[in-house]
Symmetry: C2
Subunit: 326 residues, 2 copies
């Protein structure tokens, strides 16, 4: 039910995922009256792999996170996370209220032993390589100590390796300089822990201007810094698009040019489209929760589902638990 | 002597500033052999307003900040800040090593009473309004408490009003959400101090994606967050330019389009050009120190000089001292 568009985006994305993944079983949790009409085109074979759990309660995107635990225990969001808790589902995907999803996850799922705090890991465009980098935490926490940053690095490496099929993910700490004496005491201590760890391929500090260079597969920071970082990036890209479109509309020459350049601009928007990088994972709990952007379209929401499937196939929570025991 | 280009940029910028400001007196501190040949075109009248103080010692951009106090007390950077301390100069402008400039400023100049820590304030494009916003601290500090954030807000408001001729600058705190319960304890406490203050036109929290919208004239954060924020913005803009140019080179159609669109792209680069927003101020000391980007060209360095002149005309350090006493 979540996100800016609800079932008209999430249901077609779910059906597309069924086509791609022949062993996928899906439970759609939400308003049956909205869901059923969208299933018209489904083959009998695929229809057998869909269950609908009806609820007409949805957590609003503006609701306070606590509401998912208080008034809305029969909401679609609470139910999907509870399905993961019960083992009825291997993973859940939501485009709804991030704070509420986090609250439900923390409340219903056990933390992985050795992980003090869960984190949210987002994907970033790594434009030089054409691939992805991953940034965590982007907002599950407000501040984090060195041990937590170390745990983020370890979890991020496991998750990034699963999502990108790349073993030995390169892990960096986001800092205000490359030299060892830079940054907060927490970051310097985390760097010491990571340098000593045989479990993480730690490559050192990177600065904000290197975030999109693909120099690291996993970039670790506290939740406050990560949240401001991704929002600032989105703001900077928006500014440039605004300037581009503003100039294009300004004179007849530029207007003509704008028409000619439309496919080019569309290519670039595709490249920087959050949908391509969609699927943030709440990591650190015994259970897989993937958060789609609220404004994701069908392809973006499908990508979030694919993220969840990858993590099921690799059993990422168990891999992380194994690392924490070693 | 500072910056990526040294006297070939800083000297012509200084001469241009002399043309614009008939009462300006300039002291150029650096290698006389490099400076003198660049003064060839100066009128006799303007030549009278230029002094040269010779030194062939310059702080390298890669040097550790401490070096300005240890080995390099006869460096151009140390001398310009010392001129401000002695009152021989009303302000100094440098495109050199930021850490060293900060070190020299802190060492040589007195703090303004009531200001616990100086901060660096940078300009940002406020693209909707076509003007500027100002962000501080962008890296003089690593972490800051509520009282320091409050002081940054107050100093930022005075400085922004001087630079933009806009009284009652709107001041916001950079945070991870707009609601009162968001963020670190330091930020929430700073918000309480600012809400109670009659001296600051405080408008609340803003998020990273609003940084370039011009919704606030002054945006306050700790030095770690600010440094990562401006570097991330630069990185995001660079990515978009790279994608634009990469696409333009990819096919003959786009190559042709690229040629046609060159003036458009140049306009946008101008709009987002750091030179336009150049001139970060080290604020909080009894003395005016303006830091130019190292990669500024003549117009950017001239803008940094203009920032210094504005602050001299309004006597910004005295205005801040007055506010702190009230």
């Amino acid at each position: 039910m979540g996100g800016d568009f609800g079932p008209p985006v999430t249901v077609p994305a779910a059906l597309a995922a069924l086509e791609t993944h022949p062993h996928l079983q899906l439970t759609l949790v939400g308003d049956e009256q909205q869901i059923t009409p969208l299933l018209g085109s489904v083959s009998a074979n695929n229809a057998d792999r869909i269950d609908i759990v009806h609820t007409d309660v949805a957590v609003s995107s503006h609701a306070r996170p606590e509401s998912v635990l208080r008034g809305s225990r029969n909401s679609s969001m609470f139910i999907v996370v509870d399905h993961v808790r019960q083992g009825v589902a291997d993973a859940c995907v939501s485009a709804g209220n991030t704070g509420a999803l986090l609250m439900a996850g923390r409340h219903l799922l056990e933390p992985i032993p050795g992980i003090d705090k869960p984190a949210i890991m987002a994907s970033l465009p790594a434009t030089r390589s054409g691939g992805y980098s991953y940034l965590l935490d982007v907002g599950a926490n407000v501040s984090n100590n060195a041990a937590e940053l170390y745990q983020f690095a370890l979890m991020g490496a496991v998750l990034a390796s699963s999502l990108s099929d790349r073993p030995h993910a390169r892990v960096a700490l986001l800092n205000i300089g490359a030299e060892a004496n830079k940054g907060t005491p927490e970051i310097r201590e985390a760097a010491a822990l990571l340098s000593d760890s045989p479990d993480v391929n730690y490559i050192g500090f990177i600065e904000g201007n290197q975030l999109f260079d693909g120099v690291a597969d996993v970039i670790v920071c506290d939740g406050f810094t990560g949240n401001i970082t991704i929002k600032t990036s989105a703001g900077a890209v928006k500014v440039m698009q605004r300037l581009l479109l503003g100039s294009i509309r300004s004179t007849w020459y530029y207007r003509l040019l704008g028409l000619l350049a439309r496919p080019l601009l569309q290519d670039i928007q595709k490249e920087l489209n959050p949908s391509r990088y969609n699927g943030a994972t709440l990591v650190g709990l015994h259970g897989i929760i993937v958060k789609s952007h609220g404004n994701a379209r069908q392809d973006g929401f499908e990508r979030a589902i694919n993220h969840a499937i990858k993590q099921i196939e690799d059993n990422v929570p168990a891999l992380i638990a194994g690392k924490m025991q070693s």
